[in-house]
């Protein structure tokens, strides 16, 4: 839990003595069901232990490729999806956060009654899945969301006035002509007007629909808005309009944003701080400037290299090999090691990597019959015939496999058609500070 402490305490850059949202080891696992009885056979670890805090008035960018868990995390924060582990706090004071850090540093069994009660008290007041009554209402009103797809996020059978005015109606803030006027002023604040009150969503262009979504999110004058890819479905010229609008609204109303996007250029422009996600985990986080000027994680480097900047002339685009691994069975050690161009033997090489390597050797893969797994680092590969087993052993021993994997290979022994491989086991990587509130999980930088 030290990760949590470092994350939470280091993010107290701004002077305010509370965060808007604090994540402490948040997990969201989806069960995989199979068979007629729908038995749970595994877990997709969409979000797997994420901790950071969002301070009042700032924009935190959450960036990553599809399937990395950023949207799921956004849905957890906005209360749409229940978490399966960890805690999300709303308006958690810094002193309370510090107390939590202290108590959680103590092993669970050794905590005193008082300490447990204290956690319980803090949770009851701030943890979003334990809020009720007025506290829940305050959270609900102050945490709004704008979705990616403006087609599906507006009810096609409601008029703009009903869509934008709905939050006001739910909280009985206004009715009748007052409601209409409030809606008009909301529409005007997003660049629409009175003439749009009685229209259906389908009568608007994509950009205009996104403005309606924003107006709805603003209706209750919230403190915090989750922006889930708000401009990914738009053309650049319209995207520019919306991004400008969002910035303007933030200046006027002192809004706090979580800006989720796969587009580095957009995130860089909009965010004060950025967290980079890969396969359910945050691999690096820091200020926008830090991250872009001196990134400390090869995955961030890869994203930057793959995303040319239009203003610079001489960038060479570079991609990553391989595909994102299955989030139901994430790699050991650093989850990025399977695609990492600078992976070392200590990055978490495991049996699955060896099997994946066999995939590229077509003739040998066909001969593989079974994998007898002792741990993720130690297994026996059973082959169809002795020749294949021998060929694999030679290939592995003579460095046909990636150099880093070879470095991790602790033992390689063949017995007839069986090849036993064992690799050096490693611990899971952790986020650690590398100075200036810049956190990374890459062992090349953390030295852990």
């Amino acid at each position: 839990m030290t990760v949590v402490s470092s994350a939470a305490s280091h993010l107290s850059e701004t002077v305010a003595e509370r965060a808007v949202i604090s994540l402490r080891g948040v997990e969201k696992h989806f069960p995989i069901k199979d068979g007629a009885l729908q038995r749970v056979v595994g877990q997709v670890r969409a979000v797997d232990g994420v901790s950071f805090a969002i301070r009042p008035g700032e924009t935190v960018g959450l960036v990553g490729e599809s399937g990395c868990g950023k949207t799921t995390l956004g849905r957890c924060i906005s209360g749409l999806a229940p978490t399966t582990g960890g805690k999300i706090y709303f308006r958690l004071g810094d002193d309370a956060a510090a107390r939590l850090d202290e108590i959680e540093a103590i092993p669970e069994a050794e905590r005193s009654q008082d300490q447990l009660a204290e956690i319980e008290r803090i949770d009851a007041g701030h943890r979003i899945d334990q809020l009720s009554g007025p506290a829940w209402k305050t959270y609900r009103r102050n945490c709004q969301m704008v979705f990616q797809d403006s087609f599906s996020s507006l009810n096609p059978r409601q008029l703009v006035k009903d869509i934008v005015g709905r939050p006001l109606r739910v909280y009985k803030e206004a009715s009748g002509s007052e409601l209409t006027e409030r809606v008009v002023s909301l529409l005007e604040s997003v660049g629409l007007g009175r003439q749009h009150l009685y229209r259906y969503p389908h009568q608007f262009s994509g950009g205009q629909r996104q403005r309606i979504s924003i107006a709805r999110a603003l209706a209750l004058d919230p403190e915090f808005i989750v922006l889930d890819e708000p401009t990914s479905a738009l053309d650049v010229s319209v995207q520019a309009q919306i991004l400008n609008l969002l910035h303007e609204l933030q200046q006027e109303r002192g809004l706090t944003y979580l800006f989720i996007s796969h587009d580095l250029g957009v995130v860089r422009l909009m965010s004060d701080r950025i967290a980079v996600m890969y396969l359910g985990e945050v691999v690096e986080q820091g200020t926008a400037l830090e991250l872009f000027e001196s990134s400390r994680h090869p995955y961030t480097d890869a994203l930057l290299a793959a995303n040319p900047d239009i203003s610079s002339e001489t960038t060479e685009m570079k991609g990553l090999s391989g595909t994102v691994p299955d989030p139901a069975n994430p790699p050991e050690g650093c989850r990025f090691h399977t695609r990492c161009p600078v992976a070392t033997p200590a990055c978490g090489w495991e049996v699955d990597d060896a099997v994946d390597w066999l995939q590229t050797k077509e003739t040998l893969l066909g001969a593989l019959i079974d994998v007898e797994r002792r741990t993720n680092f130690d297994a026996t590969l059973v082959f169809h015939d002795v020749d294949s087993a021998a060929a694999v052993t030679t290939a592995m021993a003579e460095g046909d496999i990636p150099a880093a994997m070879k470095g991790a290979l602790a033992n390689l022994a063949r017995d007839g058609t069986k090849v036993r491989i064992s690799l050096t086991p490693v611990e899971p990587v952790r986020l650690a500070d590398v100075g200036g509130q810049h956190l990374t999980s890459c062992i090349l930088h953390t030295g852990l």
Binding site: K137, R140, D149
Partner: protein
Amino acid sequence: MTDVVGTPLSAAPVEGPLAVRLRRFTDLARQVLRNKTTLAGLIVIVGMVLVAFLAPVLTTPNVPDPYQMPRDWGALNEPPGTPGHILGTTSDGGDVLYGIIWGSRVSLRLSVIVVSVTVTIGVIVGSLAGFLGGKIDEILMRIVDVFLSIPELIFALAIAAVLGPSFGNIILALSMVFWVKYARIIRGQIIHVKQNEYVDAARITGDSRFNIFLKDVLPNSVTPVMVQATLDMGSIVLVGATLSFIGLAEAGLAEWGVLVSKGQVGISTGRWWASTFPGLMIFLWALAFNLVGDGLRDVLDPKTESR
């Protein structure tokens, strides 16, 4: 590739909410009626419904029960064109035209009752299953599956046979069988609609589950039910008439299926009319509702052409 964007919004005059909703409706209606076959179907329906309503005016009602065929024992097996019996008579002197006119009343009653009952049950069951999900969904859908395992006519026939021959029992039997389809349709729709982000957006506003269901989920789920109900207005008469043809209605009822059954005996001796005309009415009735249902689907629900 074919997205040609944008009506210039500022150009249109500002309309009030009522006018906008009304125009949405009239636009839809105009779109539906632009199709000539739909229009033809609608005209046939209007005609038949008029006949049903005007039956006591168009004919002299039989006493004591106008739904029983009057018997003219002096005119058995008269061919069409006979004075007083324009469409001929049956083997026991029933006037075919009278049967057709009062039969439309019977059919209208049958389809309206069965469709409204089955839609109500179906929508309630389907909504519970689709919106609540989980175990309730599981149980309700297994029941629905069991009901769907028996071909619907056979099922209705068995129920009606058990209840005893009467047209009321046919109505009851059909109501017990036909709701299943709607439950299934509405559940599927709801599960689909629930995934839309506007439902999430409504949850974020903090609205109650029930309100979300009522404002966001249900209104966006009912279109296929409306289409199916229109089609069923026709097919229920088809199935009902089949049951009465087999002999599950009261004998002598002025109902199209009963009349076809009655006339069937005479065809080998060339007396074609007593079956042909009432059967034609069943066909027209079903055809008209099928045409209108298709037209509605093309406009309201173009993605799901048929299932």
